[in-house]
Amino acid sequence: MAYKPQYYPGNTIIAENRRNHMSNNVQKVREISDEDLTACLGHRAPGSDYPSTHPPLAEMGEPDCPVRQMVTPTPGTAAGDRIRYVQWADSMYNAPAVPYWRSYHAAINYRGVDPGTLSGRQVVEARERDMEAIAKEQMETDMTCPGLAGIRGATVHGHSCRLQEDGVMFDMIDRRRLEGDVIIQDKDQVGVPLDRKVNLGKPMTPEEAAKKTTFYRVGNVAYRDDPEAIEWCQKVWELRTIYGYQPK
């Protein structure tokens, strides 16, 4: 099933970036190996088989059902994978992604996903191998800056904290840090130490981040400087409000 790109109002670079995330118009800028990805996620040992919660669908003798005929299972579903998560914290200091746009990106461009949106973190739950495909795309593309975002299963705070002196988002349990000119990660999502240092790539410069971000802020592109985006939002509010007022 093919999805058409989704659109968002606004005449600024922020709005444009938001449209790009929704349309999956993101650029691959770094390489993360499958083993490194698996290590960082921390759900299974790198190289091990996917644990399953049920046999492959093909072996389960599923009932004859029109819905099942219409919907092709995702690879993880067909294999019977567990449902696992990838959860991101994105800094409010011009990280490329913001939680809602991570959710829109996942929900619009992938099937079988359950995105959850909070202020300081955004989680996508899916069958394990399906989730890994999404996580890999998130980690390898310009929707993520490794210095301004990180995967965090617990103890996620950092999105609203001031940056460290080296420009990296604060992490209480220090899962990743700047070493030389790259960010390395040596703990998994929940802070369990890894047997390796995963190179997450170079962080964006402040100038790059300012151009890539989907976050409106003073000092870069203030929300008030995108009147079309504001007017659209006001219109949604007004229509919902008036709809609710029906003195019948």
Binding site: R18, M92, L118, R162, Y216, Y223, R240
Partner: protein, 575 residues
């Protein structure tokens, strides 16, 4: 220790900056902090709990408990397998509108006796009409009810209400030292009657309220006469809010029997009991639906309007509706978030953080004064001179307030870090935007409408709002603001914590109460919805200070609140 009435946005801004500098620019404990409050970077020293004397006190006591009972107790090194809190700087909090600076831990209701007393004083209170009882006495029994008989009845009742015997011989009684916070006063809109009553029993509306408010309240009460009853704190703590009216009714019945020389078992007693328990009773909170398993006078049934009227700041600061709203905000946020949602509903300890952001560091204050001044200046309004609400006004004020609040966080990274969760920020901005709109229009539902617009704009601007629940409540809320179909909408003052889709979300219920406060204070009214509740709490004998709520919280945090009730020290071994 001092409290302030900011009066203007400029003054509020000054105190917001002072609070931020106190929090992030000065050393607290040994956190070695001296940051520029507008810098976007900082040095994280990762000093752990050792930087904070209160944390160290807690660790010491935890170790002592572990040793004494031979069972593990508090140990900060158990946090994250050895990584204790304090990887950021542990910073203090300035109580809004005061110069009181405290540790965050001391603003948890468990650690704060004043916060507990606020809820105690609400839960143990009810209002009972006297007129029906007097009719029973006069018409059914032929008794004469006079000011003198009422005075004698109140003397008897103030002996009996704490749990003393009045017509029974050899009855066990409560010890006065355990129940010294219990009493009954009376109030009426009938000046002639009031003048003949013993002043010790009277809440004198003329003395407690400004003349215009007093006239308004008396008109609301009419010639009726009501008792303001506060049962002992220790009783309602041991049982629940439903105990308040039961305890009261029993003692009221006995006191009528004694003071009017009735037969203890005659059928007319049932009429008096029915009056006290039902017909003449006004509880602070309605009983909740059975699925909530809570009786009356529990916080989930406390309407926003009643909460507005319980807070008494309007008696002393009529000309500053922002001050009234902010004190109400503190009282309501603490109760609804920390105690109701955090305690009764969820059990989580983190709810304190949501509440704290609403009454510390003058952030809501700055937003509210700025938003209100914008409304007054733009629409030429003032107290008692409101502008009829319209979609255009709400759109304008809702947008202005949202952008102001968002940019405050963008311009002050320390404020953003202080309110580290989007839920806190969303509540702060929407509370101020909504309350200012209500102040300008005199209409709480208009304020609610601005609240929801603010939430929409916040979500779009920052690409995030609160946790999951904010998506539900704050995205669908706009449609029920002006709906008056009974299962969809309601006057804001009559909504409460158990209103459909308000029931599960921290940070909102106190905010809605603040918006309601904006409505009545914007109009310059003396009460929000119930003159009986407003008058009942217009009483300096109450243990908690319902005028200067945040200062009272500060006293609690400093361990200087000395009007605690329900203590058991009198009947336990001295330490």
């Amino acid at each position: 220790m001092a409290h302030y009435n900011f009066d203007s946005e400029a003054n509020a801004k000054k105190h917001f900056i002072t609070a931020m500098e106190t929090k992030f620019g000065k050393e607290w404990g040994s956190n070695q902090q001296a940051d520029d409050i507008q810098a976007t970077t900082t040095k994280y020293l990762r000093l752990g709990t050792a930087q904070n004397p209160r944390k160290m006190e807690m660790a010491k006591v935890g170790a002592e408990i572990t040793k004494k009972r031979g069972l593990q107790a508090y140990d900060p090194l158990l946090h994250l397998a050895g990584i204790p809190l304090g990887q950021r700087q542990l910073t203090p909090y300035t109580l809004g509108g005061t110069d009181i600076v405290v540790d965050g831990d001391d603003l948890h209701y468990v650690n704060n006796a004043a916060m507990q007393q606020e809820w105690d004083d609400i839960r143990r209170t009810c209002v009972v009409g006297m007129d029906l009882a007097h009719e029973t006495l006069e018409k059914r029994l032929g008794k004469e009810v006079t000011p003198e008989s009422i005075n004698y009845y109140l003397e008897v009742l103030n002996h009996a209400m704490p749990g003393a015997a009045i017509v029974q011989e050899m009855m066990v009684e409560t010890h006065p030292a355990m129940v010294d916070d219990c009493y009954v006063k009376i109030f009426t809109g009938d000046d002639a009657l009031k003048d003949e009553l013993d002043p010790q029993f009277v809440i004198d509306i003329e003395k407690m309220f400004r003349p215009d408010h007093a006239a308004q309240i008396k008109a609301g009460i009419g010639k009726g006469t009501f008792q303001a009853v506060h049962i002992p704190t220790v009783v309602s703590r041991t049982a629940d809010g439903g105990q308040t009216s039961r305890w009261m009714a029993m003692q009221v019945g006995m006191s009528f029997i004694s003071s009017y020389h009735m037969c203890a078992g005659e059928a007319a007693v049932a009429d008096l009991a029915f009056t006290a328990k039902h017909a003449g009773l006004v509880e602070m909170s309605e009983m909740l639906p059975a699925r909530r398993a809570r009786g009356p006078n529990e916080p989930g049934g406390l309407s926003f309007g009643h909460m507005c009227d319980i807070v008494q700041t309007s008696r002393k600061f009529r000309d500053d509706p922002c001050k009234i709203a902010l004190e109400t905000c503190g009282a309501a946020m603490m109760l609804y978030d920390q105690i109701w949602l955090g305690g009764y509903m969820s059990g989580g300890v983190g709810f304190t953080q949501y509440a704290t952001s609403a009454y510390t560091n003058n952030t809501v204050d700055d937003n509210l004064y700025a938003d209100t001044e914008y409304g007054w200046d733009t629409y030429g309004t003032g107290i008692g001179d409101c502008k009829e609400p319209s979609i255009d006004i709400i759109r304008d004020m809702g947008t202005w307030g949202a952008l102001y609040g968002l940019e405050l966080y963008e311009n002050y990274p320390t404020a953003l870090e202080d309110h580290f969760g989007g839920s806190q920020r969303a509540t702060v901005i929407s509370t101020a935007t909504g309350a200012a709109t209500a102040i300008t229009t005199g209409n709480s539902n208009a304020g609610l409408s601005a609240w929801y617009l603010s939430m929409y704009l916040h979500k779009e601007a920052h690409g995030r709002l609160g946790f999951f629940g904010y998506d539900l409540q704050d995205q669908c809320g706009a449609t029920n603001v002006f709906s008056y179909q009974s299962d969809e909408g309601l006057l804001a003052e009559m909504r409460g914590p158990n209103y459909p889709n308000y029931a599960m979300n921290v940070g909102h219920q106190g905010g809605y109460t603040t918006v309601c406060t904006g409505g009545y204070t914007g109009r310059g009214d003396g009460f929000a919805i119930n003159p009986l509740v407003k008058t009942c709490f217009a009483d300096d004998l109450m243990n908690f200070d319902f005028v200067e709520v945040r200062e009272c919280f500060g006293k609690g945090a400093l361990r200087e609140f000395d009007r605690c009730a329900g203590e058991r020290a009198f009947v336990i071994p001295a330490k």
